[in-house]
Amino acid sequence: MSTVSSPVRGAAARSTALPAPAPRRRGPGRGWKVTPWLFLLVPLGLLVLFTYVPVANMVWYSFTSWDGMAPVKEPVGLDNYQRIFTDPDMFSVFLVSLYYLAGAFLQLVLALYFATVLSFRTRVRNLFKGILFFPYLINGVAIGLVFLFFLRPGGTLDAVLALVGVAEPPQWLGDPDLANISLASTSVWRYMGLNFVLFLGAIQSIPAELFEAADLDGATSWQKFRFIIAPGIKQVIGLMTILAISGSLAVFEIPWIMTGGANGTTTFVIQTVQQAFEFKKFGLASAMAVVLLLIVLLITWVQRRILPDEKVDLT
């Protein structure tokens, strides 16, 4: 870490020693070359210190067999990576992510639907906006606990189902075929509000004249969505898709609180945490984190190739 902070400190010291600026007036765009870097010094320093140095450390740990405490970090080459890619137990947990991925797409569709409906003139739409966004404001631990009581046998959900005549509801968390679906649904409930608000904001930035013109031409709601809204917020949809995919690969909070990864709900991140803190394999856990990072980067790259960053032109 000292290797990083010392050049930063050195640069700061140098800047104070610089001579006073020349009296000559400078025109715009011709200024002193270092100035922008001086402004960037603090943010860049913080970025390097708190993002790149830890990531570099993590990459270095991933090539060792460090146990998290020992002063010596024994290098083991690619052993950790070899384990991740050859041990079927390591990679099979990504199958659990598929549940969350399916949930994420459902979440995007729902959010887009609600955002579209509520961007038109709807009665008490501010109330609906509030209701839809509200779950996102609740802290994740509280959501986990609330849904634990909601889904347990004889809990709220079963009580409601009993009212409509379902006598023998399944075990929402106890049945291994349903557990992941229950958890993914909880996740959809929690995060849909955020997607919804972002879509709504994007839709509202579309000029109102376009909708007026479409009304004059007699366009239906579906046509307005298909030809104005969807192309107008393409960028946001693309971004949300990447976030949804990477989010579903890195699910942690909800399954960790609700089932602790038991009953076949272990996700890749829960497995990483178990390796690091239960079995003291920080080296292996770091390698798993690096692999996850690479997968997310790969997905982002593929998405950028499919949906290139082009200017949106609605006219």
Binding site: G155, A262, N263, K280
Partner: protein
């Protein structure tokens, strides 16, 4: 109580902090004024925030009556492990404190005053070796716990059971009788909270051999064989669940609720340490039932016709090596173990060899249970078992592999008892080969 069984996580970080401080202690222990009569003002640090102003205040009164020249002050820490580790980086960590789990044995001498040799203290106290390093003892247990099963006597009687089960098969038959005769859930796993499953590991003494873990477990390639402890205990857990004698949906269990369920007879049995008895009695009374309904039985396994149960010390009182009133501090430790009655009131076994057996363990007395004190691993071997555990990724002291065991038993995961135990044995043997003896 849940937190007490999760301290190992904190221990890792705290140990790192302590390892640094171990080199920094500058005071020479020989210079302190520790000879002569107990006198002066001492500070006693405790983890019992709940009773520091009530029960401990009585202790202070009684102790000061016996030693008029000593004044006792208490400091109760909420997060004992975390807070004491930070304070132990200075010399100001009370006169009497509990040895934190994060301190390793070879660090004892830099933090605590030796109380005497193993032979000397072993004549008065139980389990002195648990806090001994190189023949010097550094701490005396505040209370001693044993292992077994808490059960609701009323429910077991209602099912027509009069004798304690002596084998796993008898135990299963008894649970079946409870399922048939009563409305109670025969056994509650507490699967969701996780840590109660780790209690299944804590009774290796049931095998009747004090040297068991120095000859088996990490010294065996097949701990899950039918005649070894993990094969017997995990095998029983498997059978209980597989026969449908446990709760319907283990994934939504709740520890606090389970205490009331057992107290009111909706659940018949749970495997837990003896520390749980008083909590169960309390929740039975809170729920309007009687504390007398709560019984404690030994693990259903006999060696030569006798039950055995492992005993292990709780936290241990120790004297700060930097204390200025060591004689007074030492007097408090002896008084606490011998006169205070703390262990008895807590439902624990006395740290004294000839101390009173608590009423809560009356059933053990009646069943003629023999207590087994486990021999610690020999020097240089202390980390062997943990190494095998971490390499095999089978968390003997945790819940991950036992949750999977329960899942397989209830048909929620693939496999059966034989295949899972074979897999565990295989992984264990491979890990042992990697770690070496």
């Amino acid at each position: 109580m849940a937190t007490r069984h999760n301290i190992t996580g904190v221990a890792a970080t705290a140990a790192a902090a302590l390892a640094l401080s171990a080199c920094g202690g500058g005071t020479d222990p020989g210079e302190a004024a520790d000879d002569g009569e107990p006198s002066g003002e001492i500070t006693v640090i405790t983890q019992r925030t709940d009773i520091v102003d009530t029960v401990f205040a009585d202790y202070k009164e009684q102790f000061e009556a016996e030693y008029p020249q000593v004044t006792v002050n208490f400091e109760a820490l909420t997060d004992y492990e975390g807070e004491i580790a930070v304070r132990m980086n200075t010399s100001d960590y009370g006169d009497v404190l509990l040895i934190p789990n994060s301190v390793t044995k070879d660090q004892y001498a830099s933090f605590f005053e030796p109380l005497g040799t193993v032979d000397e203290l072993g004549q008065t106290y139980r389990l002195v070796e648990e806090a001994a390093f190189e023949d010097e003892v550094y701490g005396v247990s505040i209370t001693v716990n044993t292992q077994g099963l808490v059960y609701n006597k009323k429910v077991w009687q209602e099912a027509g059971i009069t004798d304690l089960p002596t084998t796993p098969d008898e135990f299963l038959a008894d649970l079946q009788a409870i399922a048939d005769e009563t409305d109670a859930v025969p056994y509650y796993t507490n699967y969701a909270d996780g840590w109660p499953l780790s209690q299944w590991d804590g009774n290796r003494g049931a095998m009747g051999d004090p040297d068991y873990q120095n000859t088996h477990v990490a010294h065996s390639d097949t701990p899950w064989a039918a005649d070894e402890w993990h094969g017997i205990s995990d095998g029983l857990l498997y059978d209980v669940v597989a026969k449908g004698l446990s709760e319907d949906d283990p994934t939504t269990t709740n520890w606090e609720e389970s205490k009331t369920l057992l107290g009111t007879g909706q659940v018949a049995t749970m495997l837990l340490g003896s520390w749980a008895i008083t909590q169960m009695q309390q929740s039975a009374e809170d729920a309007g039932a009687s504390a007398d309904d709560i019984g404690y039985m030994p693990f259903p396994h006999q060696v030569d016709g006798t039950f055995h149960a492992q005993v292990a010390g709780d936290y241990k009182n120790a004297v700060n090596v930097n204390s200025e009133h060591k004689a007074a501090a030492r007097a408090w430790i002896d008084w606490f173990a011998e006169e205070s009655g703390y262990a008895f009131d807590e439902g624990g076994i006395s740290p004294l060899l000839d101390g009173p057996t608590p009423d809560t363990l009356g059933d053990f007395e009646a069943a003629g249970v023999e207590y087994v004190e486990m021999t610690p691993a020999p020097a240089g071997q202390e980390a062997h078992e943990t190494d095998v555990v971490n390499t095999a990724e089978i968390d003997l002291y945790g819940n991950i592999y036992r949750q999977k065991l329960v899942d397989i038993a209830r048909g929620a995961a693939d496999g059966d008892k034989e295949s899972y135990f074979a897999e565990l044995n295989q992984r264990w043997a491979d890990a042992r080969a990697t770690v070496g003896e």
